[in-house]
């Protein structure tokens, strides 16, 4: 990786991180191209090495279906953790905003490796919990703010 350990591999020794990254394959996504679509089978988790990924959800705007950005992911961050969580379907669409390089690690390869290396597996699992927990906290807060506005509109 070009800039230290990605968030999924924090706390791992350089050797552990190197072995984990070696499970993956490097992929390049051109600016504007899709990495995955909402509802696709999620077999790989992606660690961003360079570029930027936009995560979107479909929304009906002015009579047309539009992809609305809900998050942006930058180098060092992880996208596609749906690959590690049943039912293994992507819940967002991911598109490269710039030419982007990622390391794609398949669920099967990662699971097999971590099963044989429990200490490394524990650290990766804790990192994954942090990534997912952060997303949950963020969207819970955004949802509550929106609810507050709805209540204010209803009571106005």
């Amino acid at each position: 990786m070009s800039s230290g350990h990605p968030d999924l591999l924090k706390g791992l020794s350089p050797e552990e991180a190197e072995r984990t990254l070696a499970l993956g394959t490097r992929r390049t996504i051109r600016s504007g191209a899709s990495l995955f679509h909402l509802g696709d089978a999620a077999d790989c988790i992606y660690l961003i090495d360079r570029g930027r990924i936009k995560l979107t959800l479909p929304m009906h705007v002015m009579g047309r279906d539009q992809e609305v950005m809900v998050e942006e992911r930058t180098p060092g961050q992880t996208v596609g953790w749906s690959a590690l969580i049943p039912p293994y379907r992507f819940t967002l669409t991911a598109t490269a905003q710039l030419d982007t390089e990622l390391i794609a690690i398949s669920r099967q390869a990662l699971s097999d490796y971590l099963a044989g290396s429990p200490e490394c597996g524990y650290k990766v699992t804790m990192n994954l919990a942090t990534v997912i927990g952060s997303r949950l906290q963020l969207f819970q807060t955004m949802w509550l703010r929106e609810m507050q506005r709805n209540v204010e509109l209803r009571c106005a």
Binding site: Q66, V68, L138, M142
Partner: protein, 107 residues
Amino acid sequence: MELFLMVACMGMFGLGITCMAFGAATGPRRDEAEPATAPEPVKAEIPARFFAKGGDVPITIHAKVPMEVLMFQIENHVRLEQAAAESFIEFPTAEMLHSRTMSPLIQ
């Protein structure tokens, strides 16, 4: 014969009085008879909301906004809302939770 005609005339007169009374009781009021002069209710313009479906919410404020501009405003709104949410997570207080942003979609 005269008595019969007198009774008939009084009956007709009574019937007429009854019809007039009934009409006055059930007819429209004068102030209801001129709805065209009443002012039309003004529709309140409700700001668009990120998570809400269009449904019954008027979207008149965006009717003249080009799609590109509206999409830019939505993306900007999402970024501002995320920043506000991250600030709350960093310093969780009720004030931070409901702090206002500069988003044009909620002004």
